[in-house]
């Protein structure tokens, strides 16, 4: 920062010296009446001065630009880190409402928009100010009238650029918004391409594209014209001032008030100013861009995070691993748009026991899984782990103790090894392989060209739904958290494999408290207690046998899933000899 100011300060002297050099040369040329030797010496002196000053100017410019760029880059790096951190920190409800495309645009393009500002914007503005102020003093002290005329374009440009800045800022914002809409539309189309094709909706989709695309184009044109109008007008006002200066100055010379040399000096200085003036337009544009991008970028950084873990919260101390819900209420969204999902949920899972949760879609099963690691905040009641409210312990310790395996698990473009070790990147080979074995994934991995080092994910070997879920289960195994939540984690895995995974996991981790959420009764029927959820309420609870005896919704479901006449045992008995 100091360097930037310093180099800008140096910049002050450069046009002055340059002006003087031109002046000297000019003065010499005009009064070339002295002896040959003197002329020769004066020529050489001027030449050396110009050369020296040019190199000095170059050096100072280099230092100034370099520090300007460094400043840009340092700020950009800090902003990058802050943005990344913030995105990770923001709670799940933020991410539910945020479009991924929009976040990515903000984190990348908007950052680019800001990053160039300190050097192109600030430094250039400082440079221009220095040139104009220095020049004004120089010119006005020489000839007030001519000086004022020469500088007449400066206020015009100042006003014009202020207007342009407002316009461009507004248009940038508008363009960015419309671009986001277009991006999202394209992304959705490509993601849902099968639906598009199935409904022969290509024409419909192209219409949608055209609508959004022409909206973008329209505002892009508006922005272009606003920029062009202001930029060209600024250039024009400069040349008009130049013409006026020549006219008035020329008449003054003719009247004998000033010398040709002085006039040349004025014109030379204006020529020096020409480049920075041309750049004002760019600066204004980059300022508009930076402030728009900055607004969008900082909106994310400043977004309030209701679940931010305060620094003073103590760590969760797991003594047994007991999970208790006490009259928990929950709804997604805020105020008017809140959709109630859970009401008055109370249950208790004792250490080492398994709780099964079943219920129709939308009944709130997965929400329970999300509330325990405090991805969302309960709207009523409380959740206790070993008698500690989840809101009163640090997020880090809470989530470290609750291992969740989700229905839709993300596979990173990295080796299988890194994927399995995602939750515990410090684990060793043996641990990873064991986790792979327990998840019934080892045989598959062994067939891959690079075994555990094979690249998987979007750009690597693509995994089927069942394989992805098994990677996710392996991840969960490796964390070995005292509380384990399986949220429909085996939906895409066949029953046979599921049972083998279950056996392996139980054998290794029989001490941990488990909550199993599934739409397949096979997955939950061995649980110590089963909750049947409907519309956010627990309507039946008990063990598998108790629930069957109840002859309620659970029993009904059971007969639907298992076939009316046969019992589960019979079905299993038929499979096992296989």
């Amino acid at each position: 920062m100091v360097a930037t100011l310093l180099s800008s300060g140096f910049q002050l002297f450069i046009p002055r010296y340059l002006g003087k050099a031109v002046d000297n040369a000019q003065g010499f040329l005009q009064g070339a009446v002295a002896g040959v030797a003197e002329i020769e010496a004066a020529l050489w002196l001027s030449a050396w001065m110009i050369l020296g000053l040019s190199i000095l100017r170059g050096l100072f410019a280099m230092v100034q630009n370099y520090f300007g760029e460094s400043l840009n880059d340092c700020i950009a790096a800090d902003l990058r880190k802050a943005f990344y951190h913030r995105v990770q920190q923001l709670d799940a409800s933020f991410h539910d409402n945020a479009h991924t495309g929009d976040l990515i645009t903000r984190g990348m393009l908007d950052l680019e928009g800001i990053r160039h500002f300190p050097s192109t914007g600030l430094v250039r503005t400082v440079m221009l100010l220095v040139l104009v102020v220095g020049g004004s003093i120089l010119l006005i002290s020489t000839d007030a009238v001519l000086g004022l005329i020469s500088l007449s374009f400066v206020p015009v440009i100042a006003v014009r650029s202020a207007i342009a800045r407002i316009q461009l800022r507004y248009l940038w914002l508008k363009q960015q918004e419309r671009l986001t809409v277009l991006t999202n539309a394209m992304e959705e189309n490509l993601t849902g391409i099968r639906i598009v094709r199935a409904f022969a909706a290509q024409a419909h989709e192209l219409l949608r594209f055209d609508k959004h695309s022409s909206a973008v184009r329209q505002v892009a044109f508006e922005r272009l014209m606003a920029r062009v109008r202001s930029m060209t007008f600024m250039g024009f006002s400069f040349f008009v001032a130049l013409t006026l200066a020549l006219w008035v100055g020329g008449n003054k010379v003719l009247a004998g008030e000033i010398t040709v040399g002085t006039l040349t000096e004025f014109l030379a200085f204006m020529m020096i100013l020409q480049m920075p003036v041309r750049q004002i337009g760019m600066t204004v544009n980059s300022y508009a861009r930076a402030s728009t991008c900055g607004a969008r970028f900082f909106e994310i950084l400043d977004y309030p995070n209701p679940i931010e873990s305060g620094k003073t919260l103590p760590d969760l101390k797991i003594t047994k691993g007991e999970v208790r819900f006490e009259g928990v209420h929950f709804g997604y969204g805020e105020g008017e748009t809140r959709v109630n999902v859970l009401s008055d949920i109370t249950f208790n899972v004792q250490a080492g026991k398994t709780l099964g949760i079943v219920g129709p879609p939308g009944s709130g099963k997965s929400t329970i899984a999300r509330l325990i690691p405090r991805l969302y905040e309960v709207t009523g009641g409380r959740i206790l782990i070993d008698d500690q409210d989840v809101r009163e312990v640090s997020l880090h310790s809470l989530r470290g103790s609750v291992g969740g395996v989700q229905q839709d698990s993300f596979v990173f473009t990295a080796s299988v090894d890194s994927n399995i070790a995602y939750g515990n990147p410090w684990s060793d080979d043996a641990g990873v392989i064991q986790a792979g074995r327990d998840a019934q994934l080892h045989d598959f991995i062994s067939q891959l060209p690079g075994n555990y080092q094979t690249l998987v994910g979007e750009r690597g070997v693509s995994l089927s739904g069942g394989q992805r879920q098994r990677v996710s289960i392996a991840r969960g195994n490796l964390i070995n958290a005292p509380i384990c939540i399986l949220d429909d984690a085996t939906a895409a895995i066949d029953a046979d494999t599921e049972r083998r995974i279950h056996d392996a996991v139980i054998a290794r981790h029989d001490h941990r408290t488990s909550i199993v959420i599934s739409h397949r009764l096979v997955s939950v029927m061995h649980a110590d207690e089963i909750l049947f959820l409907e519309e956010g309420k627990i309507i039946e609870r008990g063990t598998h046998e108790e629930l069957l005896d109840l002859r309620g919704r659970y029993a009904e479901l059971h007969s639907l899933q298992m076939g009316a006449s046969s019992s589960v045992e019979a079905a299993l008995a038929q499979v096992s000899p296989g």
């Binding site: 050369l51 930029m231 020549l246 989530r399 964390i479």
Partner: protein, 612 residues
């Protein structure tokens, strides 16, 4: 910068080399030609733009000349030349006005062309993606295609905008050289003697600079990739408590990015004093040599001052041409990436005289149909069956038996490699794709919804349908009640992918969507696989309404869904092995009977050993 120890297995961002942005040839003729075909429609605008650029450059060169003419010849102390001065000023004012207009025109026209070309390119890519083989879409991740649709087109736009000005720069450069030589050949040559020095310096500087710039860009895309990943995977990151580790790993990436950027900046800025020094050198030559010439009367003062002016402007075009060079490299790479998309072959194309099937009874026949995605793995082998209008057929079979491919062939996502698929006796290949779409609709396993209102989603492409139609469809499939409870009802806005609805609700909406489309033939491709059995009854009821009066192909594993169908086809390893009603198949006592006897709710639960 915290430089702690990083976890051995901790990585973020795609672990793929970023050499994608290879800087191979700067100029790729094919890319340029194809790209130019997108510029060609704007040839008239382009011609005007070029004229404007040339006029602008000419006036830019002329202004100093006029001024110097005024100084040398008109404004002489004492001479009564007020009239002459006025006319010179008038002339200058004219030149300035032309300069303004030309500048306005060149900026506006070039910007307009560039924007239009980008929109056209993006549209061409998007439209092409609507037609290319589905297997390409399956293999390609959306993010990659998106980056081509967005940043690559953006790069080309930038290139186009600057390239027209580059022409102006070249003209300006030559203009200055010629002006210098015309004004005074000897002094001009001496002044230009610095150019070879500049070239030599550049020759040594450029390779280093280019490598540094490339490295800076690479680290940029690495950091951006990691950020994109973090945004997509945020739920997993939270569940796995990787926040802190990731933050450190990302800081490393950001710091690396900073280091490479600083190096690039250093190399870029080293250039500045060299260029300035050379400019100074040229000016020194002018002062010494020119000064002597003025003294000896061989040169006018004005010419010498003109030299000083022009030399200062001489390096501007050179500098911007250097920028243009790297711009061109990037544009070439982007152009290649865009062409890759545009060159993906369309596998399913309408024949020139494709029949537009208007009325459709809904009869389907598969005649010895074979298909495979890769030659090694046959998916369907000589499958033949026919479905009469209004009949409901279930297709069952273990995973990988070719069920979904059968559905895809019926909708003509692909053409069969041998045999024919017919609707109402017409081979699908003779029909227009649009008309197939009007008679065949599909409900897929993943109920994909678009962001927008529920109304828009149910109506989707059937834009002729009104609110009443949409509500009727929702009522029929039993979605009306939950929709009515949502804030805004049918105008409730769905998040990306319908994230604010449950899977079951989304599936009901996708049923309603198919109902509104109202086609004679309906294909349900595992449409109920993701729905919990709880909604079974509701869904079953919805299905019955949906299927009423239509020819239906139901791919399902739920016995409850299958049993209601008129006929069941059993596929195994790409062959049709059994065919008949539930009772008939049970009587045959084959694969179907075996699957049923296992008493699983869904055939997907059946261990693979049982199908052999």
């Amino acid at each position: 910068m915290s430089r702690g120890v990083r976890p051995p297995r901790g990585v973020i961002g795609a672990q793929v080399s970023h050499d994608e942005e290879m800087f191979g040839r700067v100029f790729d003729g094919r890319v340029m030609r194809r790209f130019f075909s997108f510029v060609w429609p704007y040839q008239r605008l382009l011609a005007f733009a070029l004229i404007a650029v040339l006029v602008f450059v000419a006036t830019q060169l002329a202004i100093p000349l006029v001024i110097l003419y005024a100084i040398d010849h008109v404004i002489q102390p004492g001479a009564a030349a007020t009239v002459a001065l006025s006319s010179v000023i008038m002339f200058l004012a004219g030149v300035v006005l032309v300069n303004y207009l030309a500048n306005y025109c060149q900026e506006a026209l070039v910007g307009r062309i560039a924007e239009n070309v980008v929109v056209d390119l993006r549209r061409a890519m998007f439209a092409h993606l609507q037609r290319v083989s589905l297997s390409f879409m399956d293999k390609t991740e959306v993010g990659r295609v998106m980056s081509r649709l967005q940043s690559d087109t953006g790069t080309l736009q930038e290139f186009l905008e600057t390239s027209v000005f580059a022409i102006g720069d070249v003209v300006l450069l030559f203009g200055i050289v010629i002006t210098l030589l015309v004004l005074d050949a000897e002094l001009g040559l001496l002044t230009l003697s610095i150019v070879p020095i500049l070239l030599v310096v550049r020759y040594f500087w450029l390779p280093h600079a280019r490598a540094a710039f490339r490295r800076a860009r690479e680290t940029n895309s690495m950091a951006n990739g990691a950020l994109a990943e973090a945004i997509h995977s945020v739920r997993t990151v939270k569940a796995m408590v990787r926040g802190k580790d990731n933050h450190e790993l990302y800081s490393d990436l950001a710091d690396l990015n900073l280091t490479t950027h600083l190096r690039a900046a250093k190399l870029a800025q080293v250039n500045v004093p060299i260029v300035d020094g050379l400019t100074g050198g040229a000016m020194a030559i002018i002062v010494i040599v020119g000064g002597r010439m003025v003294f000896s009367g061989a040169l006018e003062v004005g010419v010498m001052v003109a030299f000083l002016f022009y030399v200062q402007r001489f390096f501007d075009p050179i500098r911007s041409l250097t920028i243009q060079y790297s711009m061109m490299q990037r544009a070439t790479v982007s152009g290649q990436r865009i062409l890759e998309v545009l060159d993906v072959p369309e596998t399913v194309i309408d024949v020139p005289d494709a029949l537009d099937l208007v009325n459709c009874t809904g009869a389907i026949s598969f005649d010895q149909v074979s298909f495979h995605y890769t030659p090694e793995i046959s998916v369907l082998e000589a499958v033949s069956f026919s479905v009469s209008p209004g009949e409901k057929i279930a297709i069952v079979g273990p995973t990988g038996s070719g069920k979904s491919t059968t559905a895809a062939l019926l909708r003509r996502f692909y053409d069969p490699l041998s045999g024919r698929v017919c609707i109402d006796g017409h081979d699908l290949r003779t029909l227009s794709q649009d008309s197939i779409g009007r008679h065949v609709s599909m409900v897929l396993q993943e109920p994909f919804l678009f962001s927008g209102t529920i109304f828009e989603n149910i109506r989707y492409a059937s834009v002729t349908k009104n609110t009443a139609d949409v509500e009727r469809a929702a009522q029929a499939v039993g979605a009306h009640d939950f929709i009515a409870r949502l804030p805004g009802g049918y105008l409730f806005v769905l998040d990306q992918g319908g994230g604010n609805l449950s899977l079951g609700q989304r599936q009901l909406l996708s049923f309603a969507r198919a109902l509104v489309a109202d086609t004679r033939i309906l294909v349900l491709d595992e449409a109920t696989a993701n729905v919990d059995s709880y909604s079974e009854r509701k869904i079953q009821r919805a299905l019955n309404i949906l299927l009423e009066g239509r020819t239906a192909i139901v791919i399902a594993h739920r016995l409850a869904t299958i049993r209601d169908c008129d006929r069941i086809l059993v596929l195994n390893h790409g062959r049709l092995v059994e065919e008949g009603s539930h009772q008939e198949l049970m009587d045959i006592d084959g694969l179907y009977a075996r699957l049923c006897r296992l008493n699983y709710a869904s055939f997907d639960d059946v261990p693979s050993s049982a199908t052999r």
